[in-house]
């Protein structure tokens, strides 16, 4: 589950989930929603895989979101459904979506970058809680 929190010029996303893998998937949905607005307009036509090495949870989140952001910036890929597996040396993820079609998609925001400002992953009563802020 994710929610957007206020940040004067940018947008923050807070995510809470029962496991780190679920948290990463929800965070990815949060980022996609910031970019695309309504994810119902994105068809799950293609599947892409992402592998992010590392062990620090905050950097894994940061780098995973960075890869998804790069997929839009470089290849105009929009994603909506995510599944993540956490391993000893990083994460493996699959994402379903399609290429941006200006005739059909109305996008919400140009995300300049995922920032490190207030980036955090910590334990919570429900499992794991993360925050990240995107620069708009």
């Amino acid at each position: 589950m994710f929610e957007v929190f206020e940040h004067t010029a940018d947008l923050g996303v807070r995510v809470e989930a029962s496991s780190f893998a679920e948290l990463l998937a929800d965070a990815a949905s949060g980022l996609s929603t910031v970019i695309a607005g309504d994810l119902d307009q994105v068809r799950p036509e293609v599947v892409e895989t992402f592998a992010v090495p590392g062990s620090d949870p905050a950097w894994l989140l940061f780098d995973f979101l960075g890869e998804l952001h790069a997929a839009f910036e470089l290849r105009r890929m929009l994603f909506r459904d995510f599944a993540v597996t956490v391993t000893d040396d990083g994460i493996q993820a699959t994402a379903r979506g399609e290429r941006y079609d200006p005739a059909r998609h109305v996008l919400a925001h140009e995300v300049k970058a995922i920032t490190q400002h207030e980036l955090s992953v910590e334990r919570s009563a429900a499992g794991v809680l993360a925050t990240f802020i995107v620069d708009i």
């Binding site: 206020e6 004067t8 010029a9 919400a108």
Partner: protein, 490 residues
């Protein structure tokens, strides 16, 4: 999406004079200098409304910082550095350079284009003019430009800046002369710009982008200083065009790459930071030099982006008004950077030294006589262009007499946000911002619903108040006020 609210600042803000506040160095451990915020009592509640002042205190902890951690009256919460922040560091005193002190949008900035057209000539054609601007100029998320530059061309563009476009016939010598640093920061190192950054930038030079970027048709509604306005070629009733954009995806990626490359630098150089987004490296270090080289390359790309946007604006005006742009008097007043780090000579405690001035949402504002001001303006001071919001006003100022002593020759960069994007969206529910603007005499076109809702006039402080503060502080002085007629946004 649910929303949670933002925290406010509860630390000390001591009033020094009617336009200056101080955060004393004793506020938090690690502060090397005081924080100084230029603001009057009208702006104080807005400044206390988010964490920007805390960020001013955090920046005061950076090694080698000189005089004070400064913030302009349009200050608001950023990431690491506040927006509206200014920080000068001394390379000879272990001073650092911080990518966060420049921001993701390296050399985001504005330029103002004059015309010889009057309000009476443009008013009847404003709707077709704005619609043509929207059709012909790439604006919004995912909109590529007309030109796709190869990696080799991009490297040449980043090395040479706007003079590269002059060689292609897309800039005149007069254009080049009226860009800060003449459109080219020296010592750029395009070879240090990553392939990913090149890919993001290949088709984006000559595009507006989204967020707070725009192109706006304006009219000069009031002249405050006749002599300076005449020197700047401005008069009441004159039509101008304001262009606001930056280094697009290329610059964002250069910043992102630098933040990753510098992750371990603070530990390596024994630097303790209160916020990891302040990540930095000594200016003299390999990491610091590499960032500066890539940052300058991205800055030159941004100068070129605004040049190509202006060129397209000229073409649209030619089409709509049926005359060559030269006969429409479409000359460049000036182009200024808002997000940049530059080495400049400044007096610190009576000693002249080279300082690395980070301006993050702040504008250079050199006073009359400074050698870096183009010759036609030098006797008056540097033109400073302050975009407001799309419903109220923007300003042309001139570098003020106290800017060098008070702020490393710097002033504000805009109105500054006072509502978050989420709050602005909430405030726009059930309203039609486009129709509201049209009733107020502003034709607005946007690619996205969010573009107008999040950027509505109420999301910004009153630019007249912000400008009044920098005027009274002597950082820059009022020359002319411009009001919007039409705007295109992402």
């Amino acid at each position: 999406m649910n929303q949670i609210t933002r925290p406010s600042f509860r630390g000390p803000l001591e009033r020094i004079d009617d336009v200056t506040l101080r955060i004393p160095r004793s506020y938090k451990p690690g502060m090397l200098v005081d924080g100084t915020i230029f603001a009057d009592d009208r702006l104080l509640p807005l400044i206390q409304g988010d964490q920007a002042a805390e960020q001013v205190a955090n920046v005061a902890c950076l090694p080698g910082i000189q005089i004070a951690s400064l913030a302009m009256p349009d200050i608001h919460w950023g990431y690491g550095f506040c927006i509206g922040g200014v920080c000068g560091t001394d390379p000879a005193a272990g001073g650092v350079v911080s990518p966060g002190g420049v921001g993701y949008d390296i050399n985001c900035g504005v330029r103002l284009v004059r015309t010889s057209l009057t309000l009476d000539e443009v008013r009847p054609l404003i709707v077709p003019l704005v619609d043509q601007l929207m059709r012909d100029i790439p604006v919004g998320v995912g909109q590529g430009g007309r030109r796709v530059f190869s990696p080799e061309e991009l490297r040449a563009l980043m090395q040479e800046g706007v003079p590269f476009l002059a060689r292609l016939g897309l800039a005149t010598a007069e254009d080049v002369a009226c860009v800060e640093a003449e459109g080219c920061l020296p010592d750029a190192e395009p070879g240090l710009v990553s392939d990913r950054a090149l890919a993001r930038g290949a088709d984006q030079c000559g595009t507006v982008g989204a967020g707070n970027h725009f192109i706006e048709v304006q009219v000069v509604d009031r002249v405050e200083d006749e002599a300076v306005a005449a020197a700047f070629g401005l008069r009441t009733g004159q039509i101008c065009v304001l262009i606001h954009s930056g280094s697009r995806g290329l610059g964002y990626q250069v910043c992102d790459d630098a933040l990753r490359a510098l992750r371990e630098a603070p530990a390596k150089y024994g630097i303790t930071l209160p916020d990891r987004q302040l990540v930095c490296a000594p200016i003299a270090s390999p990491e610091g030099r590499a960032y500066l080289g890539a940052m300058r390359a991205a800055a030159n790309y941004a100068f070129c982006n605004r040049q190509l946007l202006m060129w397209q604006v000229r073409e649209v005006f030619e089409r709509v008004f049926g005359n060559p742009w030269e006969s429409l008097g479409m000359t460049l007043l000036y182009d200024v950077a808002h997000n940049i780090a530059k080495f400049e000579e400044h007096a610190v405690a009576g000693v002249h030294k080279e300082v690395c001035v980070h301006r993050k949402g702040a504008t250079r504002s050199f006073p009359a006589g400074h050698h870096d001001i183009p010759e036609p303006y030098r006797a008056f001071g540097q033109p400073v262009i302050i975009p407001g919001d799309m419903g109220r006003a923007s300003w042309v100022l001139v570098g003020g007499p106290r800017s060098l002593e008070r702020s490393f020759g710097t002033t504000c960069h805009g109105a500054g946000r006072c509502l978050s994007r989420t709050a602005a969206t909430k405030a726009a529910q059930g309203r039609d911002i486009r129709t509201e603007l049209e009733r107020a005499g502003v034709i607005a076109r946007s690619r996205s619903r969010e573009g107008l809702a999040e950027e509505q006039p109420a999301a910004y402080k009153d630019v007249d108040v912000v400008v009044d503060v920098v005027h009274r502080a002597g950082l820059s002085l009022k020359v002319a006020r411009l009001t919007p007629l039409g705007v295109i946004k992402g």
